[in-house]
């Protein structure tokens, strides 16, 4: 997995690229959560993520929960088809 962070006004857009699994979930976590922690609104662009497992979904849940705690915005944008499929399964659970 690779990533790029783009700053746009008060929004940090995190572009994730590749496969997000247990092996790289910490890297995604350490990229996304500190931005929310300092009060940024965060958008995660998932258009180039071609695989995501439960570890990746967990990072997104943590981001959403931290954003609620910090009263910031946390959004998923341009969700790829493979990620949308896993998210739709996870929604039944959430």
């Amino acid at each position: 997995m690779t990533y790029k962070v783009e700053e746009l006004d008060n929004v940090s857009i995190v572009h994730l690229n590749g496969e997000v699994d247990m092996d790289v979930a910490d890297k995604a976590r350490q990229t996304i959560l500190p931005l929310i922690e300092i009060g940024k609104n965060v958008q995660v662009n998932l258009s180039k993520v071609d695989y995501m497992d439960s570890s990746g979904i967990s990072v997104l849940i943590e981001g959403k929960q931290l954003a609620e705690k910090k009263s910031t915005k946390f959004e998923l944008i341009e969700v790829s088809k493979p990620v949308e499929k896993v998210l739709s399964m996870a929604r039944k659970f959430l």
Binding site: D21, M22, D23, D53, I61
Partner: protein, 143 residues
């Protein structure tokens, strides 16, 4: 259930027990499912279920601290359109009663992997591991 008759097939492969192997597990599964001509959507779901089960071995049976040479084996077999995926490992014995996903109203990260496996597969069964193995998990799906 698929109307395609899938040919009988069996294949297995050993992987090191660490998170870096999960990608290799996925590649192996995709290759076998290509040979079985399993349709794309189902293939993605099966790969996810298998990768989650392998992840549970790394994370729970070995608590992320397997020795560098420790192996787990994944065996995929298809007989009479019934797909069976077996996992063998030598980690801490799994108590099947403790393997469950979180309650639906308990929104916390974690526990999702087991939920995905149960959603995707028809059956999840822990069998007695025969030496040298300790855990033997079997996932089945009627194709």
């Amino acid at each position: 259930m698929s109307e395609i008759a899938h040919q009988d097939h069996i294949e297995k492969k050993a992987f090191l027990v660490n998170s870096s192997s999960l990608k290799d597990v996925r590649v192996f599964c995709r290759e076998v499912f290509e040979k079985l001509h399993i349709q794309e959507d189902l293939k993605d779901e099966l790969v996810l279920a298998i990768a989650e089960a392998a992840q549970n071995i790394v994370k729970h049976a070995f608590k992320n601290s397997a020795s560098p040479t420790e192996l787990m084996v994944v065996q995929i077999s298809c007989e009479n359109n019934k797909l069976q995926i077996a996992f063998y490992d030598r980690g801490t014995p799994v108590d099947p009663k403790k393997v469950k996903h979180r309650e639906i109203d308990n929104v916390k990260p974690g526990g999702l992997g087991t939920f995905f496996i149960q959603e995707i597969m028809d059956a999840v069964e822990f069998k007695d591991g025969k030496k040298p193995w300790i855990n033997h998990l079997v996932l089945t799906k009627q194709l």
